[in-house]
Structure formats: structure tokens, C-alpha cells
């Protein structure tokens, strides 16, 4: 009886093994090559994007200088950052001042420009001229703008203001703590308008013409009503994409601030969150503390991104 049972179960096992082998090979035929296609991207994405987020979170609870082994310090880094580090508070304030002005300003200007340019002749030429600044290098453009904002009489803006008799002495644009931030904001808005612009322009071209005719039948009287009731709701996906880009860009402000005012900037007037991160990570090599800054940066951008997802959710229409 016992023998029979084992024989029976062996038979079962055997056919089961065979079955799995067959399904495995069909499974491999069906999906194997797919995994091979996906794997190179996935491995690199995991190593350089997903794992780093987790590692940054872990490191932020330690003291780590890359020479000795990391030492667990609990939430000490966060405590220091938020209660003791005056420069970090300045950095947060600067970053938010920057983001609150340059983000919405750039976003709205680029949407408005896309909306107007889409209705003009020579659309391509206008689009190119409007978009060009955003594909230039921040370092290069800061140099150019510093010719305009140069702190001596050679600067175009000082030159014009002196000639008009508005000022007597040249303004120290990139050295005076009062004017540094406005200059950084100005250059950034100039540079970042194009990013959303292209997405918006493409989205506008995609709105079907017939819709406007139907809208006219339904009593839409002006271009602005057309924009508000027809165009904007249809463009929610593009608006969302533009908003997320704009948030990530403006919260991550760094290279223009450094090029304009240096690091550290006079009286930390252009010190941003990323500048603080760079300072602690790659000048002082206090990786634990710097990771704390990175995690705070992550939380801020992520929350703002979530808010955008809620605002521009397109589930309720169509």
C-alpha cells in the first residue's frame, strides 16, 4: 500500500515536473525576450534612481564621511537641520521665494505665449525664438546676463539707467544682497519659459477644430470663453506635465544661482536647498547630513507633485 502510494506520488510528481517544464518553456517563449528587452533599462533605473532614494533615506539617519563606516544617529540630522541650522532655513526661504515667483510666472507666461503664438502666422519662427532660451546652458546664459547686469558702468542695464538719470552710481546687481535674488529669478524665468511652452503648443495643436465650431453653436462668444471652457479642460494632461516640470525645475534651482552669485553667495542671499546639499555633500563630505537635506527636498517636490496630480486630474471629464 505504502509502496503503491509512493509510486503513485512519484508518477504525479513526474508529470507535474514535465508540466512545469512545458509551461516554463512556453512562458519563456512568450515573455523571455520581453524581459531581456526590459532588463537593461530596469537594472540601471533601479541602481541609479530607485536604490538611491532608499539609500538617501537610510544615510540620513547616520553620520557618514565616506572614510569611516556610517554611524547611526537617529533623527539627529533632521533635528539639527530644522532647529539649529540657520543657513538651511535661509536656503528654504530662498528656494520658496524663488519657486513661488518664478514657477507660476514662467508657467503662466509660457501658456499664454503658446496660446497666442498658436493663432499667429509664422508660428514656427515665433516658437523657435520663444523656446530657444530654455535649451541653452544655464552657465553660459548666466555669463551673458551678467554682461547686462554687470556691476560696473559697462553693464548694459546700469549704462541705460545712468544715461536716463535714474541712478547716479552703478547698481551692484550680483553682489548686493537685495538684488541677487531678483536677478536669479529674472534669468530663471527667462530660461524656463520654454520648457512648458513646447508641451502647451503641442497640446493646443491637438485640440480638434470642430470643437470650437460646436462651442460657437453652444453660445461661446469670445476667445477667452473658448480658452476657459474648451481648451483648458482638454489640455489637462499637458498642463499637468508642464506643472510637474516647472515644480521640479524651480525647487531644484542651483546652477543659475551659483553662476550669478557664487557659492557661498554674499550673506547667503542666493543660497538654495540644492546649494546647501552640494555644500555639505561634496565640499564637507558630511553625507548623512546632506542626505537629510536630499530627503527634505524629495518630500517637498513629491508633495507638490501630488497636489498637481489632484488639481489636474482629468477623471471627471470625458
Amino acid at each position: 500500500m505504502g509502496n503503491l502510494q509512493t509510486a503513485e506520488s512519484k508518477k504525479w510528481l513526474g508529470s507535474d515536473l514535465k508540466k512545469t517544464r512545458i509551461t516554463l518553456s512556453t512562458w519563456w517563449n512568450k515573455y523571455g525576450i520581453g524581459y531581456m528587452f526590459l532588463l537593461p533599462f530596469l537594472i540601471l533605473f533601479l541602481i541609479f534612481t530607485v536604490v538611491p532614494v532608499v539609500v538617501a533615506l537610510g544615510t540620513s539617519f547616520t553620520n557618514y564621511n565616506m572614510l569611516q563606516a556610517p554611524r547611526w544617529v537617529g533623527i539627529n540630522n533632521y533635528k539639527l537641520l530644522l532647529t539649529d541650522d540657520d543657513v538651511f532655513i535661509i536656503a528654504i526661504k530662498n528656494t520658496f521665494t524663488f519657486a513661488l515667483i518664478s514657477g507660476p510666472a514662467g508657467y503662466m507666461a509660457s501658456f499664454f505665449a503658446a496660446w497666442v503664438i498658436n493663432q499667429l502666422k509664422f508660428r514656427k519662427g515665433f516658437a523657435l525664438a520663444f523656446y530657444a532660451p530654455s535649451i541653452t546652458s544655464g552657465v553660459a546664459m548666466s555669463i551673458v546676463w551678467l554682461y547686462f547686469f554687470s556691476s560696473d558702468r559697462y553693464g548694459f542695464i546700469n549704462n541705460i539707467l545712468i544715461n536716463l538719470g535714474i541712478i547716479n552710481e552703478p547698481i551692484l546687481w550680483n553682489m548686493d544682497t537685495k538684488t541677487i535674488m531678483p536677478v536669479v529669478i529674472f534669468i530663471s524665468v527667462w530660461m524656463s519659459m520654454g520648457t512648458g511652452f513646447l508641451v502647451f503648443l503641442a497640446g493646443l495643436q491637438n485640440v480638434p477644430r470642430e470643437l470650437y465650431e460646436a462651442g460657437a453653436m453652444d453660445g461661446i462668444k469670445s476667445r477667452f470663453q473658448e480658452l476657459w471652457f474648451l481648451t483648458l479642460p482638454l489640455m489637462k494632461p499637458q498642463l499637468l506635465f508642464g506643472a510637474i516640470n516647472s515644480i521640479v525645475g524651480s525647487i531644484g534651482v542651483f546652477d543659475i544661482a551659483v553662476s550669478v552669485a557664487g557659492i557661498p553667495s554674499p550673506n547667503y542671499a542666493a543660497h538654495t536647498i540644492v546649494a546647501h546639499l552640494y555644500d555639505y555633500a561634496f565640499i564637507r563630505f558630511q553625507m548623512g547630513y546632506a542626505s537629510g537635506i536630499a530627503v527634505i527636498l524629495f518630500v517637498i517636490t513629491f508633495l507638490l507633485g501630488r497636489i498637481c496630480l489632484k488639481v489636474f486630474s482629468s477623471k471627471d471629464i470625458y
Binding site: F41, L44, L120, K124, M141, G203, Q238
Partner: protein, 294 residues
């Protein structure tokens, strides 16, 4: 109702002709575009200014007697310094082209597999990529530095290439585009006996040309202008890329450097603008699909 519609159509017709309103709109837009383009025009003008015009007071915007002297200064005079400028150009061109090439291929292959194979156990990938769009690369910079350091490739070209290959942004764009691609076409080629590799290269990629051309443009622009990665991964002068080199040259602030700086700024700025101008219509075609449906 009919009345308002008629007046709307009438007003639409009126808009086609030149009206005071349209003159106003064109004037405002030309002013706005002049504002965005002015510094770029200035870059071009300054690069060709002879030294006396560069140092003129009061400064003049446009160039009077264009010359190539600044470029000679940049390429030859500066070659007396430790690293010739041509080396920076090579560093940038080399790392950027390799990065762009593999970014496009990896994200196309990955997106194709994710969209068209319905692989078991991969549902989490796209939400994670969407989430990755929502924070800046600076967040991951410290662990990335540790990983790159652990791989022993600090201060090499690989440090500028490998961490940037798997770009969430590129993957996202390719996925949006591949979703539109008809499954029937893939199926019929499979029935004809084509293997997946051939399907990918001979059928999918040729018809996705607008999508990956756009990716080439964005990836080129982003990497060409990237300042942060070389700043943290590169320590020796000879391995620096153009943005860092430009900052060093302009930081010199000596009068003799003014010409070289303006020529370097020109060389740094023009490639991205030229590439975009050539690809503009393809890029616009692709960006239609860039929206995020939440």
C-alpha cells in the same frame, strides 16, 4: 442665440483681415520674442567682436567689424594653458553622444517590452517612473556618488555616462508613443516569422522616428548643458566638459579672456539651438503625446 453665433462667426471672419487688434497682438508678441531672443543675438554678436569693440565704453550691442579673432584666441592662445580648449569640446561631444545613443535605445526597448509584452510582475514599474518624474535628480545625487565611487569610475567618462542612461523622462515619452502603435502590425509580422529583435529594429523603430528624434533632441540638450554631474564626478582639468570649462574661463575675469569667453559661450550655446531648429516639426509632433493623464 443664433444672433450671437452669427456675430461670433462674423467676428471670426473679421479676425482674418488685418485689424488694429491683431497689429497690437503681433507687436506685443514681437516685443516678447525680442526679449527672449535678445541675449542670444548678443551671444552671436559678441563672439565676433574685435577686442576694441569688446572693451568699448559705452558698450555697444551689435558688432561693427566682425572677426574670427576670438575663436583663434580660444583655440590657440589658450592652448598654452594646461588643457587645450579642443579637449573640453571632445569630452562633451564624446560623453554626450554615447549617453544619447544608449539612452534612446534602452528606453525604447524597455518601453516596448513594458507596453506590448504585458510581462507578469511589471505593473509597478510605470507608477515608479511617473513618481521619478516628480523629484529632481539632485535627490539621488549623494547615493549615486557613492555608487559611482564604489564602481571606481570617479573622474572617468563612464561616470558621466552610466548614471544617466536610464532616464525616467525618456522612458515616459517613449511609452506614451509606443502605446499608440497598432498591435496588429506586430502580430502580423510575428506570423510572418519575424523574431522580436527584427520587429523592434525593422518595424517599430523606423515608424517611431518622430518619437526618438525628439528624445535625441531633449537628451542631447539636457546632457550637453548638464553642470551638476561633471561638477561632482570630475576632478581633473583634462576630464572637464564644456559647462565647467566655460565657467573656469569666464571666472578669470582678465580683459584678455573677454574675447575667449564670448567665443566659448557661442560654442556652448549654438549646437543645441541648431539641433532643435532642424528637428522642430518632429519635436512638436511628438510632444502632443507628452501629457500625463491623471
Amino acid at each position: 442665440m443664433a444672433n450671437s453665433m452669427a456675430s461670433y462667426i462674423k467676428s471670426k471672419k473679421r479676425r482674418k483681415r488685418i485689424s488694429a487688434g491683431w497689429v497690437f497682438v503681433y507687436t506685443v508678441m514681437i516685443a516678447l520674442v525680442a526679449f527672449t531672443a535678445l541675449p542670444l543675438v548678443y551671444v552671436v554678436c559678441t563672439a565676433f567682436k574685435p577686442i576694441d569693440e569688446l572693451l568699448r565704453y559705452p558698450p555697444r550691442f551689435f558688432v561693427r567689424n566682425p572677426t574670427l579673432q576670438n575663436f583663434w584666441d580660444l583655440l590657440i592662445a589658450l592652448s598654452g594653458t594646461v588643457v587645450p580648449f579642443t579637449r573640453y569640446i571632445f569630452n562633451s561631444l564624446f560623453t554626450v553622444s554615447i549617453t544619447v545613443f544608449f539612452t534612446v535605445i534602452l528606453s525604447s526597448m524597455g518601453a516596448y517590452a513594458l507596453v506590448k509584452f504585458k510581462l507578469p510582475g511589471t505593473k509597478w514599474i510605470f507608477p515608479v517612473i511617473l513618481a521619478a518624474l516628480m523629484f529632481s535628480a539632485h535627490v539621488t545625487q549623494i547615493p549615486t556618488y557613492m555608487i559611482v565611487n564604489g564602481m571606481g569610475i570617479i573622474n572617468t567618462y563612464w561616470a558621466l555616462i552610466i548614471p544617466k542612461l536610464a532616464s525616467a523622462y525618456s522612458f515616459f515619452l517613449m511609452k506614451q508613443f509606443i502605446e499608440q502603435f497598432p498591435n496588429e502590425l506586430l502580430e502580423s509580422s510575428r506570423i510572418d516569422g519575424a523574431n522580436e529583435w527584427t520587429i523592434f529594429w525593422k518595424i517599430l523603430m523606423p515608424s517611431l522616428k518622430p518619437a526618438w528624434s525628439t528624445l535625441v533632441v531633449f537628451s542631447f540638450v539636457g546632457n550637453w548643458n548638464d553642470y551638476f554631474s561633471p561638477l561632482i564626478f570630475i576632478s581633473s582639468e583634462a576630464m572637464k566638459t564644456l559647462p565647467l570649462a566655460l565657467q573656469t574661463i569666464s571666472g578669470g575675469a582678465s580683459i584678455a579672456r573677454a574675447g575667449a569667453t564670448s567665443a566659448a559661450t557661442f560654442l556652448m550655446t549654438m549646437p543645441t539651438i541648431i539641433i532643435f531648429t532642424i528637428m522642430q516639426s518632429k519635436v512638436l509632433e511628438t510632444m502632443v503625446h507628452s501629457g500625463i493623464k491623471a
